[in-house]
C-alpha cells in the first residue's frame, strides 16, 4: 500500500517540509517530483488503522506543518501519484478499482513522448480508460515495450518498487572555536566529537572512510591541512581519533587553533570472508593503530611491509604501510631449503683492504679486522649508467680469521672498498 502526498499549490519552499512530513511516517519514501512524495505504508495498519485513518493522520500532521497537500492511497505507487495529482483532498483507491478512478484522466498526465502522444490523439485516444481499452497485442506491435508500460499505468496495474530518497550524504563537520586552543587535549575533545558524528553518519549509510582531511584554522587565518590515508576503510570513532592524535603529536600545529574542520571521504567498507581453517591475521583497525604508534616511536618510513623494486641495484627496497595480507596458505612444499642470509650494514662500512694477487688478503674497518682465509669472487655488477646514482662494483665473499663471513665490494666509481654485510 502506498500513500502519495502532492502539494496542492505551488509552494517551492515547502519541498523540505514535505520531506520532513514524509519522514515522520516512514523512512522509506520516494521523491517522485519536488512537490510529490510517495510513502510505503505496508504494515502501518496496526499503527495508524485503515487507509482512511492513515490519510487523516497524514493530513493532520500536514496542517500542523502549514502544508496544503492532496493525499491518495492506492495499491501501487503510480496509481497513488496520478490520483493525488488529479483529485483534491483525500482519495482512497481500493485495490482492483484503480482503472475506475484513473479512467477519466487525460493521457497528457502520462510520461509520453511527443510522437506517442500525437499518434494516440490521432487515434482519438484522450483518456486513461480509452488507452486501457486498446488491444494489448496491437499496442505492443505499434509502440513496443513503451506502449505496454503506458497501458499498464493507465489500467492501474503497474507496480514497481519505490526508489528510496536519501539526503545528500556529506561527511564533514566544522566548528569555530570561541577561544584559540593551544593544548592538544581540549582540541582532541572537539575532534573526538566531530569524528563520533561522522562515524555515526557513515555507519547509518553502511559506509566507511579511507581518507580523513583535518583542516585546522590557526591564528592569523592560516590553514593547516593534514591528510590521513587509511589502508583499510574504518567507521569506528575510537581508532580514528587515536590516529588523528598520533598525527597531531607527530606534526603539531605552529599556532593556536581557532577552527576545526574534518572531512571524511566515504567508501564502501571492507568485507572479508574469513575461513574457519585460515590462520588468524591482525585486526585491521588495531593493526593500523599499532603501526602508527610504532611509526611515531621509530620514525616515518621505518615500519611497514618490505617490497623489492624492479631493479638490479644492490640492496634496493621499499617499505610501505599496508593491511592486506595473504592468509591463504601456499601449496606445501616437500622440503624447504634454507638459504644463506645476509645481514646488511646500513650504511656500508668503509674498509681498508690489502690485496695479494688481485684478491683481498687483509681487511680493516670499524670494529672488523682480520686476515682473509678464503674468498670467492669477484662478481662484477653495474647499472643505471644513465643516472647520477649509477653503480659499478666488484663483490667478494670473504671468510675472515675471526670466523665471520662477509660480503665486501670495491666501488669502481668511488675507488673505495666497503663491507656490505655479514652472512649469517
Amino acid at each position: 500500500m502506498y500513500a502519495c502526498l502532492h502539494l496542492s499549490e505551488s509552494q517551492e519552499e515547502a519541498g523540505e517540509s514535505l520531506l520532513a512530513l514524509a519522514r515522520q511516517f516512514t523512512p522509506l519514501f520516494e521523491r517522485a517530483a519536488p512537490e510529490t512524495v510517495v510513502l510505503a505504508m505496508e504494515g502501518m495498519e496496526r499503527l495508524l488503522g485503515s487507509p482512511l485513518e492513515m490519510a487523516e493522520a497524514i493530513e493532520k500532521q500536514a496542517r500542523e506543518a502549514n502544508l496544503s497537500v492532496r493525499i491518495a492511497i492506492a495499491g501501487n505507487p503510480d496509481a497513488a501519484i496520478y490520483a493525488a495529482r488529479s483529485y483534491s483532498g483525500i482519495t482512497i483507491v481500493p485495490p482492483g478499482e484503480e482503472q475506475k478512478w484513473l479512467g477519466s484522466l487525460d493521457i497528457s498526465h502520462l510520461p509520453l513522448t511527443p510522437e506517442t502522444e500525437e499518434t494516440l490523439r490521432r487515434w482519438g485516444i484522450r483518456t486513461f480508460a480509452q488507452l486501457a481499452a486498446l488491444p494489448e497485442t496491437g499496442v505492443a506491435a505499434r509502440f513496443g515495450q513503451e506502449g505496454v508500460h503506458l497501458q499498464r499505468i493507465a489500467r492501474g496495474e503497474y507496480s514497481r518498487p519505490l526508489i528510496p530518497w536519501h539526503p545528500d550524504l556529506t561527511f564533514e563537520r566544522h566548528e569555530e572555536l570561541e577561544h584559540p586552543v593551544e593544548l592538544l587535549e581540549p582540541l582532541l575533545f572537539v575532534i573526538g566529537r566531530q569524528i563520533h558524528e561522522i562515524c555515526d553518519a557513515l555507519r547509518q549509510s553502511s559506509l566507511a572512510t579511507n581518507e580523513i582531511q583535518l583542516v585546522l584554522t590557526l591564528e592569523g587565518n592560516v590553514e593547516n591541512r593534514r591528510t590521513l590515508r587509511l589502508p583499510v576503510p574504518l567507521n569506528i570513532a575510537a581508532p580514528l581519533r587515536q590516529l588523528i592524535q598520533l598525527d597531531l603529536e607527530a606534526h603539531p600545529p605552529q599556532a593556536a587553533i581557532t577552527g576545526v574542520r574534518i572531512e571524511a571521504r566515504p567508501v564502501m567498507p571492507q568485507r572479508l570472508q574469513t575461513g574457519l581453517f585460515l590462520p588468524q591475521a591482525p585486526e585491521p583497525a588495531k593493526l593500523e593503530l599499532t603501526l602508527k604508534r610504532i611509526e611515531k616511536l621509530v620514525g616515518e618510513g621505518r615500519v611497514g611491509t618490505p617490497e623489492i623494486p624492479d631493479t638490479h641495484r644492490p640492496g634496493a627496497f621499499r617499505i610501505q604501510l599496508r593491511q592486506a595480507f595473504q592468509t591463504e596458505p601456499a601449496r606445501q612444499e616437500e622440503r624447504r631449503q634454507i638459504s644463506l642470509a645476509l645481514r646488511i650494514y646500513r650504511p656500508p662500512l668503509e674498509a681498508e683492504v690489502d690485496l695479494r694477487d688481485g684478491a683481498p688478503a687483509r681487511i680493516k674497518a670499524a670494529g672488523i679486522r682480520g686476515r682473509v682465509l678464503n674468498y670467492a669472487g669477484p662478481w662484477r655488477t653495474a647499472g643505471d649508467w644513465w643516472r647520477n646514482d649509477a653503480w659499478s662494483r666488484a663483490e667478494w665473499d670473504i671468510a675472515l680469521s675471526d670466523q665471520s663471513l662477509y660480503r665486501i665490494y670495491f666501488d669502481m666509481r668511488e675507488d673505495r672498498w666497503f663491507i656490505e654485510g655479514r652472512y649469517d
Binding site: P279, Q280, T305, Q326, R336, I338, S339, L340, D424
Partner: protein, 213 residues
C-alpha cells in the same frame, strides 16, 4: 592444507608447537613453540639469521602474518625473498640501533595480536647495551604471548631471555662450503649445527644454508 600443530611434552607441562617444514628442526624440537618465547643464539656467521628467515618463510607460507623487530636495521629483503618469505605478510620495524625502541615495538606488536610469528633481532647490538635490558621485559613478553597462537623468536649472540625462554637453541658453524680451484672459488653454502640448550638434549641437528646468488 597446512600441517597441523603438534603437542610436545616438556617436563612438567604440555607445550603446543607448530611444524616449520624444516625436517631437521622439527625432528629436534618438535616444531616451533606457540604462545612461548624461543631464543636462537650463536656467534656471527653461525647461521642464526638463515634459520630465522626459514621460520619466517614457513609461517608466512602458511598464511600467517609475521613481524620482524630489527634493532640494527640489518634485515635484507632480498635474502628473505630468496629464503621463500612471503614479503607481503611481513611487517618490518627498523629501530636504527635503538634497543629501547626495539623492545617497545615488540611489546606493541605482542599486545596488538593477530601475528603468527614475531621476531626480535638483537644479534648485532653491543653487549654493553644488552646487559642493561631488565629481566622484567622478558617476563612481560612471556605473559603477553602465553595463551596466544603466536611465537616470539629472539635472535641474539648470547642467551638473553634466561628463564623466560621455552626453547633455547644454539647455532654453530661447522663448515664453510667453497668449491672451485684456488682463485676461482664459489661460495656454495654453510653447514651449521643446531644444539638444544633448553630443554637440554644430547641430540643435535645438522642444517645447511645454501648460498644463492
Amino acid at each position: 592444507m597446512a600441517a597441523s600443530p603438534q603437542i610436545l611434552s616438556f617436563p612438567g607441562r604440555v607445550q603446543l608447537t607448530e611444524p616449520t617444514g624444516i625436517p631437521e628442526f622439527d625432528r629436534l624440537t618438535g616444531g616451533l613453540p606457540t604462545g612461548a618465547i624461543t631464543e636462537i643464539f650463536g656467534s656471527p656467521s653461525s647461521g642464526r639469521t638463515s634459520l630465522l628467515l626459514s621460520l619466517f618463510a614457513a609461517m608466512s607460507m602458511q598464511g600467517k602474518v609475521c613481524a620482524l623487530v630489527d634493532s640494527t636495521d640489518s634485515f635484507d629483503p632480498a635474502s628473505a625473498e630468496r629464503a621463500g618469505v612471503r614479503l607481503a605478510n611481513l611487517v618490518w620495524v627498523r629501530c636504527n640501533r635503538h634497543a629501547g625502541h626495539a623492545f617497545k615495538a615488540a611489546d606493541m606488536l605482542l599486545h596488538g595480536g593477530g601475528f603468527g610469528l614475531i621476531a626480535l633481532d638483537l644479534a648485532d647490538l653491543p653487549r654493553r647495551v644488552l646487559q642493561h635490558i631488565p629481566l622484567s621485559y622478558w617476563y612481560r613478553f612471556r605473559r603477553a604471548i602465553e595463551h596466544t597462537p603466536a611465537s616470539l623468536v629472539v635472535l641474539s649472540t648470547e642467551p638473553q631471555v634466561k628463564s623466560c625462554a621455552t626453547l633455547l637453541l644454539e647455532t654453530k658453524r661447522s663448515r664453510l662450503d667453497l668449491s672451485g680451484a684456488p682463485g676461482f672459488h664459489l661460495l656454495r653454502g654453510l653447514e651449521m649445527q643446531l644444539l638444544p640448550r633448553k630443554p637440554v638434549r644430547s641430540a643435535t641437528a645438522q642444517l645447511r644454508a645454501e648460498a644463492i646468488r
